[in-house]
Symmetry: C2
Subunit: 256 residues, 2 copies
Amino acid sequence: MSSPTIGVQVIRRAFAVLRALAGGPLGVSDVATAAHIPKSTAARVLAALAAEGAVEQVPGERRYRLGPDLLSIASGLGETWDIVAIARPTLVDLAAELGEAAGVSIRDGWTVQYVDQVEPPNPNPVQVRDWTGTRIPLHAVSSGQVFLAQLPAPVLSRYLAEPLEAFTPATLTDATALLERLRQVRRDGHAWVRDEYSIGLSSVAASIVDARAEVVAAIHVHGPSYRFPNPGDEDRIAGAVRAAAARIGARLRAGG
Amino acid sequence: MSSPTIGVQVIRRAFAVLRALAGGPLGVSDVATAAHIPKSTAARVLAALAAEGAVEQVPGERRYRLGPDLLSIASGLGETWDIVAIARPTLVDLAAELGEAAGVSIRDGWTVQYVDQVEPPNPNPVQVRDWTGTRIPLHAVSSGQVFLAQLPAPVLSRYLAEPLEAFTPATLTDATALLERLRQVRRDGHAWVRDEYSIGLSSVAASIVDARAEVVAAIHVHGPSYRFPNPGDEDRIAGAVRAAAARIGARLRAGG
DNA sequence: CGGCATCGTTCCACGATGCGGAACCCACCG
DNA sequence: CGGTGGGTTCCGCATCGTGGAACGATGCCG
C-alpha cells in the first residue's frame, strides 16, 4: 500500500458494508461492488455481521439489510440518542409545516454532524440531498453558526485563529464578518445562511438546550434558495424553527 | 480452537467492544476486560473504530464512547428506525403515567427483539433490567403473544408444531392453552402475561399497525408482579397501553 | 515531594487468519 | 435446453492482525 493505511482493514470493510446497506437491502454482489471488495470477501463479512445481528437476510429474499441489533448498540449513545428520538416527531411536524426538509445536528469538535433528517410529505422533486452522517466545518452552515454563537469567547477565538475554509464565494471566511454574524445569531436566537456552504442552498437553524442549560444540538430547515425562504417569510419560518427547538428542548428536559 | 468459531473474528471483537461501550464510556483497559481481549488488541480495535467514527474519545478525557456516525448507519434501518424514533416520546409519557418501564419490540422470525426501553421518572429501586437487544421466543412474553395473535393460521401452526420452551412453570407450553390465550388477545386487543417468562415479572403489550394495516411492532409495559398490576387496575393499564399503541400507529402512518 | 500503581502506547517476530481467484451450483429466463 | 448472473465453496498463499513485553505518561497517595 502506498498510503500507510492505518487501522484494522476488516473493520474498514465491515463498515463500508454497513454503510452500503444503509441505503437499502442489497445482494452479495451489489455489496461487493458498493464496498469495493471481492465478492467472496463480501460474503464472508456479511456472514460475520449477520452472526452479530448487525445485518440480516430479508426473509424470503436473499438480500441483506441492516439488523435490529444495531439499535441495541445505538441506544447506548445516551443523550445523543435521546435527542434524535425525541426530536423526530417535532421534525416531522416542522417539515410538514414549512414544506422543506428538517434535520438535527450535534457539534463534534469543530464540525457539525448531521444525525437525522426528515423530508416533508409530498416532497418537491427538487430537494436537498440527505446530509445525515456528514461533517461540515462550523462556520459554513446555519447549525454550525448556532453552535459557534454560544461558545465561550476563548474557545471561539481558538476556532477563529485558523483560516476559515471557503466553500462558495459567499462563505464567511473573515473573522470580523463572522463575529458580526454571530452577534446577530445571539440576538435573534436563530441563524439564517444563504449560499454560504453550497450555492443555491439556504437554511435556518436554532439551538436545543438541555437541563443543564447547555446547547446540545441544533435543528435546521433547509431548501433551495430560489423558493426558500419566500421573500418576507424569513421571520415566520425562523419563528417556527425556534418554537420547534424550544419544544424539543422542553421534552428533552422532561423525559429521560 | 475447540469450537469451529465461524465468522471473522476481528468483527466479533469489534462488536464486543461496541457493546461494551454501549454501557457508557470506558478506557482501553476496561474495554479489554469487558470484551475479553488483550489490551493492545483493544487499543487497535478502538483506533480502527474511531477512524470509522463508530467510537470517539470523550473530549478532554481519554475514555472512549460510541460515536455519532452510528446514527447515520442506524438511520438506514428504515421503518424500524422510524418506529423507534416515533415511539420514544409516547413511551416516555406511558412510563410516566404508569410508573413502570415501557418498551418497543419487533418480531424477528420466531422471536421478539426488544429495540428500545424507557424507565419511568423517579424509578422505583426495584426495577426490571433493560431487555434492549434481547431476543425471546414469541410464546413466552406479552409482546410475542401479540405478534402470534395476528399471524395467519398456517404460519401460526408452523410455530406450534415445534415444542414450546418453558421458562417458568407458568409458561404456556401447551398449544391448546396458547391458542386459547391468543383468542383472548385478539378479543381484548392486548396481552397480559404474568410470570410466564420470568417469575415475578408481569407485562402487558399491544400492537402497532402501519399504513398497510400490518403489525410492525408492539409496545409493552412491565414491572414486578408484586406491585404491577395493582389488583383491579388491569383494565386501566391495558387501556393506556392500547391508547399509546394507537397513537404511535397514527404518527407512523402520518409522518414519513 | 518523590515513589508507586495504573493506564495507554509502541514495538516486533510469529503464525493463525482472513484473503480472494476460480471453480461450482443453482435459479431463473429466453 | 443453453445461457446468464448471483451465491457459495474451496484452498494455497502471505497478509494482516496478534499479543507479550517493554516503555512512557499520569495521577494518586504516602
